[in-house]
Subunit: 335 residues, 2 copies
């Protein structure tokens, strides 16, 4: 390979997937617009602020791609995909209230504009709308999957709230938290698409596993980017987790691999959350020295490989490589 | 009628209804206990705090009674009734965060013990559990009714949040708000019971109207009790609405019926919420002079009569008079 070819070597991209799913996603977008409407003006205004900020809509994309890979010929997956985006948006609204976040998707967090009460209630509206959309899709099996996912997400959020400031958090509990709060919706999004397509139980399970592993990879990368990214690319502030004293895998690795000399630093900055401006840079430095971010990304890559392996028994139509690209992209992305 | 008989004349009571529904409600209670469980300990603790405080469980009672009046022979209404109580409890948890309420059902509000974040997330958990229970009940029609109700409730809450501090609120918008935030769940609870029983569309509509009118009566009485009740009987502080500057029908009547001399009083206490200890008593005095509470209760009584009229075409089995008692009770109650 010569230098020009090396430069031209393609980076992981979801362009092919976006092109394949384009017509379906345009229909999903129309459903989203239609169902966020309400005679109460604050509701569409607040919902639009958040929903318009979402460029990729990965979760509904997963529902569409899983349904089409599994051979869906009708459009029942479209309403489920819109429902998945509404569930996700509702949890973001509530999360930002719970975490007092400042930025989301490159915009000022909704609760800072409309107030926390409106964010809580519009989250409830979107959650209810999600179930109305699911009823419209008419699949009790898909409803069961997404109702269960909604419950598991809330359990993951409460677990995170009560445990994630704990310096003694284990990697096992961390994976349990991100499995529930993030990967469960990816898993359910893919499984619901497969179910809507009338796929066999084995294929439904395989697509669920693809979503689950993709979601874990996605959240691990998110947690690494919170230390390595910058606000402009991320659409939210880097260092949020550190400032909130939220224990994620990069921090667990760094704390475990630095000696007694740093114990006071972690106790002060993470446990007691007494931080100066320079502390975040010091934390990043320690992560570099301990390879905490590299190893977090390496684990993400393993989950992405496991996700791709789940697709092994599917026919190699154009959707399968596009979903494999999605797994690679989730690890390589910078935002 | 002699004096002794007059004294012994029965007050409206739901004892007969409670006795009839006793075995069903015990089963609903068991479902509630079972489904509020979670491996995340905060969730059952917080849910139990609120759910154990509910003595009457009027909304699930309505689902059971509507189903049995409509001839339900199986137990599919039980899961729907538990789902209705979970939806109600979820909205209470979020409401208390939104309103910063201090007391609920005679207990310190959950968010003051576990924090607002946990209240928001456990509300989400209960809401999701409600949909899991509905999936278990297996009726897509009941799911549609309760998903729609959940959405309408959130719209009513946002409408209340944005409009109810407005001195120029009209009686029409006030009725729209309480119709959405309260009466909709009563309506949906009754209709879902009827649907689960396989009742005719006419009977489903009639039971929906019963629930709707009962709910309006119920909320009007609630709003009157906020001026006439005492905290011990109410299980929450009297005067909360006034202190929050929440414009309800008693206040609308009193403001419309007092002259220019009182305009400054209402502007200061309700609009600007600048209040002294004595202001609530002054407001109650003005309500007495203007018959604001009497007329609110008279309107509640008219809705209760309309609710009873909706039952006219049902066979007069033991459930029908018991539901008529419920309508009378909703107006006569002191808490």
């Amino acid at each position: 390979m010569d230098a020009a070819q090396a430069i031209a070597a393609p980076k992981p991209s979801i362009d092919a997937l976006m092109a394949l799913a384009g017509p379906d996603m345009a229909a999903v977008d129309a459903l989203i617009r239609e169902h966020m409407d309400s005679p109460v003006p604050v509701i569409p205004a607040l919902a639009d602020h958040l929903i318009a900020g979402s460029a990729k809509r990965l979760r509904p994309l997963l529902t569409i791609a899983a349904a089409r890979l599994a051979g869906a010929r009708d459009d029942s997956c479209l309403k489920l995909a819109a429902a998945v985006e509404f569930i996700h948006t509702a949890t973001l609204l509530h999360d930002d209230v719970v975490d007092s976040s400042q930025l989301r998707r490159g915009r000022v967090a909704a609760h800072l504009i409309w107030g926390a009460p409106s964010s809580v209630l519009v989250g409830d509206f979107l959650f209810a709308r999600a179930f109305e959309l699911m009823v419209g899709a008419g699949s009790m099996a898909a409803l069961e999957i997404l109702a269960r996912a909604s419950r598991v997400i809330s359990e993951g959020e409460v677990l995170q709230l009560t445990r994630s400031h704990d310096l003694d958090l284990t990697q096992e509990v961390y994976i349990e938290i991100i499995g529930a709060k993030t990967a469960e919706l990816f898993a359910a999004a893919a499984e619901a698409g497969a179910v809507a397509a009338g796929a066999s139980p084995e294929r439904c399970r395989a697509l669920r596993r693809f979503g689950q592993d993709l979601g874990l990879a996605f959240q691990l990368v998110d947690d690494a980017l919170d230390y390595s990214g910058d606000a402009k690319t991320l659409g939210k502030n880097a260092g949020d987790d550190f400032r909130e004293g939220k224990v994620t895998l990069p921090l667990l690795y760094a704390m475990a691999r630095t000696g007694a000399a740093e114990r006071d630093f972690w106790q002060r900055t993470v446990d007691r959350r007494e931080q100066t401006e320079a502390d975040f840079d010091r934390a990043r430095e320690l992560m570099g020295q301990t390879r905490a971010l590299d190893d977090t990304l390496a684990l993400a890559a393993r989950y992405a490989d496991s996700a791709k392996a789940a697709l092994a028994d599917f026919p190699s139509n154009s959707w399968r490589p596009a979903l494999e690209d999605l797994a690679d992209f989730s690890v390589a992305r910078k935002a």
